[in-house]
């Protein structure tokens, strides 16, 4: 355990691709967790944003460490724009849902189920 810990402390300041990927994974997991656990549609949307940004971090990281061109960063910018658009549409939908059902609880909005 002590050996593992020492190795970890040695590894941690030595910033490289894995660090970014781990952050990204944590962020992705938090996003998924938010999507799955939250009942409020707004919070679900926020989870989605987290997932998207986790992907962005991946893009940037791969672009910085692996790539020879700017493609990754380009994709990240693209995703940010996409996320903005998505947020706009999704919020509009949520607004409409609220109008219709008087709630933003996704569990109660289940008329598509049947």
């Amino acid at each position: 355990m002590q050996a593992f810990f020492d190795e970890f402390l040695q590894w941690l300041p030595n910033v490289q691709l894995a660090h970014f990927l781990i952050v990204s994974a944590i962020l992705f997991s938090l996003g998924i967790y938010g999507i799955v656990t939250r009942r409020n549609a707004i919070l679900v949307l926020m989870g989605v944003e987290l997932v998207l940004n986790a992907a962005n971090i991946n893009f940037i990281a791969f672009s910085r460490y692996g790539g020879v061109n700017m493609d990754g960063q380009l994709a990240a910018i693209f995703v940010i724009i996409l996320a903005a658009a998505e947020a706009a549409v999704a919020l509009a939908i949520v607004l409409n849902i609220y109008h219709r059902f008087q709630t933003v609880n996704v569990d109660e909005v289940s008329t598509l189920r049947e």
């Binding site: 998924i32 999507i35 799955v36 656990t37 679900v44 996704v106 569990d107 289940s110 598509l112 189920r113 049947e114």
Partner: protein
């Protein structure tokens, strides 16, 4: 007259009755008088043409055979045989020309007689139509120069005989007799057909002349004289059936169920003589052994039927057995080699036997009328014991009947004397040459019997007292249309038409129909025509004396017994009761055949039916049940196992659906969890791998 014209005329004679048949059978009911005049005039024209043909043939082409051939089928190249053509045709030689006249003459006479006899019959036009088809088929036999057309005609006369015997088919006995005649004839025809096939297999032709030529050139069936004898005997089998020879003679007496003119035409004069004609036609190919068989069959037939005839009481039955006996005579004549005598007897017999039958028809006609007048439906109109004393009432019938009886008994100055005498001389010559003395012995004995039973009929029918004097008053002579044919036939039964010398048969027929030379190899040939003719000539005087003696004896006995009552017939019959009963019952031939052939066949068919019912049907039914059981099992298998599988699949699907549907919550979150976990599972799975 040219040959072509003569042949054309003969073809007209052949086809005319067929035309008449066609017209009358289809339109008979619509024609005036139901078409009897049509048939009668057609056959009369045929008679005139036949006379012309005969005259021309004898005067211009005496020693020639006029023939007309045509290719019926050409098989081209038959494997193993080479080119094969079936050539059929017609031929007129002296024999055919004479037969042509005999057939058309008797046919014409019978047609005229029938107009009177069949008046008011229910199927009057049909009757005449059948007479037409009969004439056609008989003429086909006569004119054919090959076995094929001969066989066709042969079967057609069988058919017309069947139709005419069964003319009154409402009567069970008549329809039975018709069937019997047909079937018994078939038995003979099987032999005939086999004989034809043996010859065809060897010579690949049906033409008689070609076959004779082939035999003459040394080709014989399968290289063995035995086969040639077999072929001859088998062809003779056909004659045995058609000419009612022992052992197939049983149908002819029963055939008397037909109308009497039919009996005269078909069952006395022409059709039954076809067998004799056939043997005469195929005479050159008969070996000595075959001729021996023919001679003995003829002799046995003559003897058996003559003995039966003396114990019969039905006038037509007596005449029928007399016919069988006389046919036996002709066959015997051909068998012993007296070819000319046999053919001559065929001609003379045709005249007087047709006359006898027509005479009996006239008597029966009168009896029917009288019985009808008395409202008597029980007395048998054909039983001679119910007759007697008809002489004064029916003089024409009586006197013509006497002439015919004299002719058949062989009394001088009649035609029968000439031909019978020749036959007896022939049998004597035969026994002299071969040592078979049984044949002439039977010949003379039968001659005596014939005279006896024929005079018995005459005495019982026409002389003495009638059994019922009251009935006699109602008996009248038959109309002219019936008596004139009788007179004509009676005239034709006088010697002058056949030979100018009343004691010698050497007239135009003997000259025209000479015995043809045998074509069979010399080792199996009968004594040649010269040798035989010499012997017959020597035997002639003896034969004449003896035949006169036996005929006189027979007549005397008949008169002594039935006219002068010096001999009591009943007493004698009682003395030899078993014999009398034996003869009365026709030697028990019918019973024998019923017992052996009919019952044998029935037993055999019953066995076969049992076999069919139990074994074959059992097998079929067994197969059916096995199939049924197996299909039941397979059905159960289907409904339980296969259907079970299918149902189980469906049930499982349903169950799976029921389970999986819980997963389908419709909540995004759940799906995302699934997705994430799936990805994680995949991830780890691939990592491990």
């Amino acid at each position: 007259m040219s040959q072509e014209l003569l042949l054309t005329l003969s073809l007209i004679v052949l086809v005319a009755p067929l035309l008449g048949f066609t017209l009358v059978i289809f339109f008979g009911k619509k024609l005036p008088r139901q078409g009897d005049w049509l048939e009668t005039s057609i056959i009369s024209i045929a008679l005139v043409l036949s006379f012309i043909i005969l005259f021309q043939k004898l005067t211009h082409y005496h020693d020639q055979t006029l023939s007309l051939n045509f290719t019926w089928v050409d098989f081209h190249n038959v494997p193993g045989i080479g080119p094969m053509k079936i050539v059929l045709g017609f031929a007129i030689d002296n024999l055919a020309a004479i037969m042509l006249v005999v057939v058309t003459l008797i046919s014409t006479v019978v047609h005229f007689f029938s107009i009177g006899y069949m008046q008011g019959d229910v199927r009057y036009s049909r009757y005449f139509a059948f007479l037409g088809i009969f004439s056609f088929s008989m003429l086909l036999i006569v004119l054919s120069n090959n076995l094929f057309l001969l066989y066709v005609g042969w079967e057609l006369v069988g058919l017309s005989s069947y139709l005419l015997i069964g003319h009154w088919y409402e009567k069970k006995s008549a329809s039975d007799a018709a069937i019997k005649a047909f079937i018994v004839n078939r038995i003979g025809d099987i032999g005939f057909f086999t004989g034809i096939m043996i010859l065809f297999a060897t010579f690949h032709t049906f033409g008689l002349q070609e076959i004779f030529d082939g035999i003459k050139n040394g080709t014989i069936p399968y290289g063995s004289e035995g086969w040639l004898t077999a072929a001859g005997v088998l062809i003779f089998c056909g004659a045995v059936g058609k000419s009612a020879q022992f052992p197939l003679h049983v149908w002819l007496p029963d055939a008397m169920e037909g109308p009497t003119p039919v009996s005269a035409l078909i069952h006395a004069a022409t059709m039954v003589a076809a067998g004799v004609y056939l043997v005469a036609r195929t005479f050159p190919m008969m070996t000595a052994d075959a001729l021996m068989v023919i001679a003995y069959i003829g002799a046995i037939t003559a003897f058996i039927s003559a003995t039966i005839a003396i114990a019969q009481n039905d006038i037509k039955k007596v005449l029928a057995y007399s016919t069988v006996s006389q046919l036996g005579y002709m066959v015997m004549a051909l068998g012993v080699g007296a070819y000319t005598a046999g053919v001559f007897h065929l001609v003379t017999h045709a005249m007087f036997k047709a006359g006898l039958f027509l005479g009996s028809g006239s008597v029966i006609h009168a009896m029917h009328h009288a019985l009808h007048h008395q409202n008597d439906h029980h007395t048998d109109a054909q039983d001679i014991r119910n007759m007697g004393g008809l002489k004064s009432k029916m003089p024409v019938t009586f006197w013509t009947f006497v002439v015919f009886t004299l002719a058949i008994s062989g009394v001088p100055l009649t035609s029968g004397f000439l031909s019978k005498d020749e036959i007896l001389a022939g049998t004597l010559a035969f026994s002299g040459l071969t040592g078979h003395s049984l044949v002439p012995l039977i010949g003379f004995f039968v001659a005596g019997l014939t005279a006896f039973y024929m005079f018995r009929v005459v005495i019982l029918t026409f002389l003495g007292e009638h059994s019922d004097p009251h009935r006699l008053e109602h008996i009248h002579e038959s109309p002219k249309v019936m008596t004139l044919p009788l007179v004509l036939l009676a005239i034709l039964s006088v010697f002058i038409f056949y030979s100018f010398n009343p004691f010698s048969a050497a007239g135009w027929i003997a000259h025209a129909v000479e015995r043809p030379e045998s074509v069979v190899p010399a080792v199996v040939a009968a004594p040649s025509a010269e040798v035989f003719g010499e012997a017959a000539h020597h035997a002639h005087g003896t034969a004449m004396m003896l035949s006169l003696l036996v005929a006189g004896l027979g007549m005397l006995t008949a008169f002594a017994t039935y006219r002068w009552k010096k001999i009591n017939a009943d007493k004698i019959a009682a003395h030899v009761a078993p014999l009398h009963k034996f003869l009365m019952n026709k030697w028990y031939f019918d019973e024998l055949y019923n017992g052996v052939v009919v019952n044998g066949t029935l037993t055999w068919t019953n066995i076969l039916r049992w076999f069919d019912d139990t074994i074959v049907d059992g097998a079929v039914n067994g197969a059916g049940s096995v199939t049924k059981v197996s299909s039941f099992i397979s059905g159960k298998f289907d409904s339980i196992v296969i259907d079970g599988f299918v149902n189980m699949t469906a049930y499982l699907s349903g169950f799976a659906g029921l389970v999986l549907r819980k997963v389908q919550t419709g909540k995004i979150q759940t799906y995302i969890i699934f997705a994430v976990f799936s990805v994680m599972i995949f991830y780890f799975a691939f990592r491990i791998w």
